[in-house]
């Protein structure tokens, strides 16, 4: 902090919301400073007050929120308590904000040009013609291809990544001194996220803007920020330069968060995840004393009684009574912990066999010609010839960008989508047949865990009823033992008996997901399909759910298909991994072989984009250009050739890729790569990530 006046200085800030019967302090005693050109990251689980901080800075707390104490100084001037035109001017000209969902930040009924120009005309009274050329300039600045054309478009005509670029461009139009970004890449795919993060880095370097970056993802913060503040229950519990924080986390909460996330390359055999017990307390029920003490391994009597202050310790600030005494290296796993290394399942033999499976969605245009059957119907090829085999008791992980057909694959297997061709066989049953024709045995053996905790349970019924329904449906237990069997299932997902009578609205996201898992394992099934079961959860909850799934799988010998977009999680959880792109599998093999060279170009790009929660981890930058092509009209030859950064390695610039379907190239151990590039060429490329095989203590 070399500059005399920092851009943003927050002191003793407390923000409260008025609610029925009182008020709750969402944020208390927050302190942070951001200098010119610096970036400060705020991380923490949901409900910790990160977004409230951002809203307090721009005074957007709604009708029931207000700044209770403290000051927010922007370039030395007080913002707290300032209202009306003065604040408007400050906000528009000097402070800009980028939100999570770009579709909601853009007005769907205005074209991009009008939305961008509005900012300039209102805040700088710029002439319309001049404003237009400035807009072209700024879109060019955020690397938007063909900016003058984009200006004529409406938001829905742009992809998510392009929309977020427009929002960032809009934020940059007035050259703000402070840019606040609230989860700007959470709604984006990992490859798009990487390019947006690069852009943010580049702009910050060039424009010297101060950045407040809010994220739940430690990996992203590690990539973007200079300094990081960890929030817990409305307070900053730790503040440190990014390298220090990841190297020597002092606060038990920060340490706990880092122990929750599988790093890229960790596998279930080499690493155990340690979830933080319990959950973030709601603002009205924060414990007195240290807010974290009920969940802390080190908590003493003093922690429960006395509220700690944020104190400096060497280069970092920590809100912990024991900060100086705790040695992260000396941390011992809780006594009852699953031993590292998952035992080999005794069964071998293929349970699931999929051969050239295809699923098409009919695209209706609603034209008269189509109605009369005159026009050829168009099909979206969501699954375009997928083949794999999965041995019993093993897990197949599936990764890929959104729209690559991951979800369609599991929905086709379970029968929710009709298949259009190919074969799928499971325990002797044909999986291509219609759901209505399926045998009860098959229905029982095949179950699914869903992504969205809020929609996985029927809000009208109690937890007990919903699990019991599955037991009754398959006659798994006699009617008299229904209650007991349900309770046992609740037990197995670590929920106590009080949950039996509860309704889904009374549960947290993680608890709902547990019930969803109990329901899936009730029948009991042989094969469980998990469609992003942890994507919507906080990291500590995610770790608990992953452990739970591993545990149940180990006890029951269940075979699993596991979808996630987090490459680290998939690597951690799976025995085999398939990388999908545009309805095709691009690479398939054991988890180790996918995350080690030779990398085919698409996997390489995915790995290079994956955020790693370690600022020192070496990672080559490979960024994909353009968007995923439409599956309505997939590219001929190799589906990836339009974006492939390695195509030039082939003779005559990879003309082959655009015309011929690539061959399956077999590597060691059943590892197969779908690429025109020969394996030894791929093997000679410099690996994008450090070889993840390094054994851990």
């Amino acid at each position: 902090m070399a500059t005399s006046t920092p851009i943003l200085e927050i002191n003793q800030l407390a923000v409260a919301y008025k609610v029925r019967g009182g008020e709750v302090e969402a944020v208390c005693d927050l302190e942070l400073t951001i200098g010119r050109g610096q970036s400060f990251g705020l991380v923490g689980e949901s409900g910790c007050g990160k977004t409230t901080v951002a809203w307090a800075i721009v005074n957007f707390l709604g009708t029931n929120g207000y700044i209770k104490r403290g000051s927010i100084r922007f370039k030395g001037r007080e913002l707290a308590g300032v209202s009306g035109p003065e604040l408007n001017r400050l906000r528009g000209n000097q402070i800009a904000m980028v939100y999570q969902n770009p579709m909601q930040a853009l007005n769907p009924s205005m074209c991009i040009a009008d939305q961008l120009k509005e900012t300039l005309i209102v805040h700088q009274q710029m002439a319309a013609a001049k404003a237009h050329s400035r807009c072209v300039e700024i879109l060019d600045r955020v690397h938007m291809p063909d900016p003058s054309r984009v200006l004529q478009l409406y938001p829905h005509q742009l992809s998510g990544g392009q929309q977020q670029r427009v929002v960032i461009a809009m934020a940059l139009l007035n050259e703000p001194a402070l840019l606040i970004m609230d989860e700007p890449t959470t709604a984006l795919d990992v490859t798009v996220e990487a390019t947006v993060l690069d852009l943010i880095q580049e702009l910050r370097r060039d424009l010297d803007t101060a950045l407040l970056f809010i994220s739940h993802n430690l990996g992203i913060v590690a990539r973007v920020c200079d300094e990081v503040g960890v929030m817990y229950a409305g307070e900053l519990v730790e503040r440190a330069p990014v390298r220090t924080l990841f190297k020597t986390p002092r606060h038990p909460y920060t340490q706990g968060l880092l122990r929750c996330i599988p790093r890229l390359g960790d596998s279930k055999a080499s690493r155990v995840l340690y979830p933080i017990p319990g959950q973030v307390p709601p603002p009205a029920q924060r414990p007195s004393g240290c807010h974290f003490s009920p969940r802390c391994d080190y908590a003493t009597e003093r922690c429960a009684a006395e509220h700690p202050t944020l104190d400096p310790l060497e280069k970092q600030w920590t809100r912990c009574h024991l900060a100086a005494e705790i040695d992260p290296a000396g941390w011992k796993a809780p006594a009852q912990t699953r031993p590292a290394g998952v035992a080999e399942s005794p069964h071998e033999g293929t349970t699931l066999q999929v051969e050239n499976l295809e699923t098409h969605y009919e695209q209706r245009t609603g034209s008269l010609g189509e109605l009369l059957g005159r026009r050829r119907k168009k099909y979206l090829r969501a699954l375009d010839g997928v083949s794999f085999e999965l041995p019993q008791g093993k897990t197949l992980g599936i990764v890929g960008e959104s729209g690559c057909g991951k979800s369609t694959l599991v929905k086709t297997l379970i029968g929710l989508e009709p298949s259009a061709g190919g074969d799928a066989e499971f325990m002797g049953f044909d999986l291509t047949q219609d759901l209505k024709k399926r045998d009860t045995t098959l229905l029982r053996e095949l179950q699914m865990v869903f992504q969205d905790p809020d929609s996985t349970l029927n809000p009208a019924y109690t937890v007990g009823y919903q699990i019991g329904r599955v037991l009754r449906r398959f006659g798994a237990v006699p009617a008299k033992q229904l209650r007991a069997a349900t309770s046992e299932l609740l037990n197995s997902v670590r929920l106590d008996q009080s949950y039996y009578e509860r309704y889904p609205r009374q549960l947290s996201g993680g608890e709902k997901q547990r019930v969803g898992i109990a329901r899936a394992f009730a029948s009991p099934p042989e094969l469980v399909l998990c469609d992003e079961p942890v994507s919507a959860l906080d990291v500590s909850v995610q770790a608990a759910i992953l452990n739970l799934l591993l545990d149940i799988q180990q006890q029951q010998g269940t075979t699993m298909v596991f979808i996630a977009h987090d490459l680290g999680v998939v690597r951690f959880f799976s025995d085999f991994v398939a990388v999908m792109y545009l309805g095709k599998i691009m690479e398939i093999g054991t988890a180790e072989s996918i995350y080690a060279p030779p990398f085919p170009p698409y996997t390489e790009a995915l790995l290079s984009a994956a955020p790693i929660p370690d600022p020192d981890a070496p990672q080559t930058q490979i960024r994909l250009q353009g968007n995923v092509p439409s599956a309505l009209d997939p590219p001929a030859g190799c589906p990836f050739h339009t974006r492939c950064p390695r195509r030039h390695l082939l003779a005559d610039g990879g003309a082959l890729c655009a015309s011929e379907t690539p061959p399956w190239r077999p590597a060691a151990n059943g590892h197969r790569i779908f690429c025109h590039l020969p394996l030894d060429t791929l093997a000679r490329l410099e690996p994008v990530v450090a070889s993840p095989q390094s054994p851990r203590a």
Binding site: R338, L443, Q447, M448, N458, A460, E488, L489, S492, Q555
Partner: protein, 313 residues
């Protein structure tokens, strides 16, 4: 599956409950009803009319059909609301008029069933509308197209003409009025239910039910229907108001409920000819209809506002 499994993820919950869940649920439902002052007022007026209707079954000041008083008399101590053109006591008739709306239905001759014509009519349109709406929304194929086209045609048809057709075909009587209310109410209910069904049918819990092989009826009536209940209750309450209007309209047109039972609509119709002599005879039943309809609307609005707020919290 051992419960003492080795992962330290014991559920820590900050939600402590002292009541049993069932009791809690009732308490919450009652709280929803009484949380809004507007809704409570509406409910009070509706309950008042229910009380009057029940009372009139056993006691009215005079026999509602007795014609032995001065014709078109002004209000007096003997007749607080006055008398009509045939010399019948208006208070007694007004009280008894509540019965057909809310209290009893004459199926045929002396065969009575509890529940007024308005209630049964609304029940009919809800039952039929829910059935059609669920099927249309959940199946979403030609069944959907067929159901919705027919219902739209029904909406496009002028209501009064529709009533006339139904009554011309089937004759007068309580069941026919119920049918008229049912037929005119069904399309609206079906539209509402279809919309709500479309919204919830792609939810994961429906996918889960489908993937364990539940049949379509189970999914429609057990998985989807309970989740569209709240808006349906509000809609049904509003519809009771419309149905009272319908009975009034039919009575006013002289094609409503047959004599001798008094109903508010035909009271207005009969007194209309003497409106310059005795305007009060028109005013009382008109006030009764509007107070009941308005209070039902208030109640429905209060319910809607509060259920959405309670769901949010």
């Amino acid at each position: 599956m051992p419960g003492d499994s080795p992962i330290s993820t014991t559920p820590l919950t900050y939600l402590t409950t002292t009541d049993t869940p069932r009791l809690q649920r009732y308490r919450k439902q009652l709280a929803v009803v009484f949380a809004s002052r507007m809704g409570t007022t509406g409910l009070a007026v509706v309950l008042f009319w229910f009380g009057i209707g029940l009372l009139s079954l056993w006691w009215t000041p005079y026999e509602p059909t007795a014609t032995d008083f001065t014709q078109n008399a002004a209000p007096s101590l003997d007749h607080p609301l006055g008398t009509d053109h045939l010399g019948r006591d208006l208070l007694s008739r007004l009280m008894a008029g509540t019965q057909v709306v809310l209290i009893k239905t004459r199926l045929s001759g002396d065969f009575l069933v509890p529940g007024g014509v308005a209630l049964w009519g609304v029940f009919g349109s809800l039952a039929l509308g829910v059935f059609l709406g669920l099927n249309a929304g959940y199946r979403s194929n030609w069944i959907d197209q067929g159901i919705m086209q027919i219902l739209d045609a029904l909406i496009a048809f002028p209501r009064i003409v529709l009533y006339l057709i139904v009554i011309a075909a089937l004759g007068q009587g309580d069941p026919v009025v119920i049918l008229a209310i049912t037929v005119t109410g069904t399309p609206g209910v079906a539209r509402l239910v279809r919309g709500l069904t479309l919204e919830s049918k792609n939810r994961d819990y429906i996918q889960a039910a489908r993937s364990r092989g539940e049949n379509a009826w189970f999914i429609m009536f057990r998985e989807i229907l309970p989740n569209v209940r709240a808006p349906l209750i509000v809609d049904g309450t509003l519809r009771v108001g419309y149905a009272i209007f319908t009975i009034g309209t039919l009575g006013f047109l002289g094609i409503g409920l047959p004599p001798p039972d008094p109903d508010w609509g035909s009271m207005v119709n009969e007194a209309r000819r003497f409106i310059f002599v005795n305007p009060l005879a028109v005013l009382w039943p008109a006030l009764a209809i509007s107070s009941l309809v308005v209070s039902l609307n208030l109640f429905a609005d209060g319910l809607q506002e509060e259920t959405s707020r309670f769901q949010a919290s």
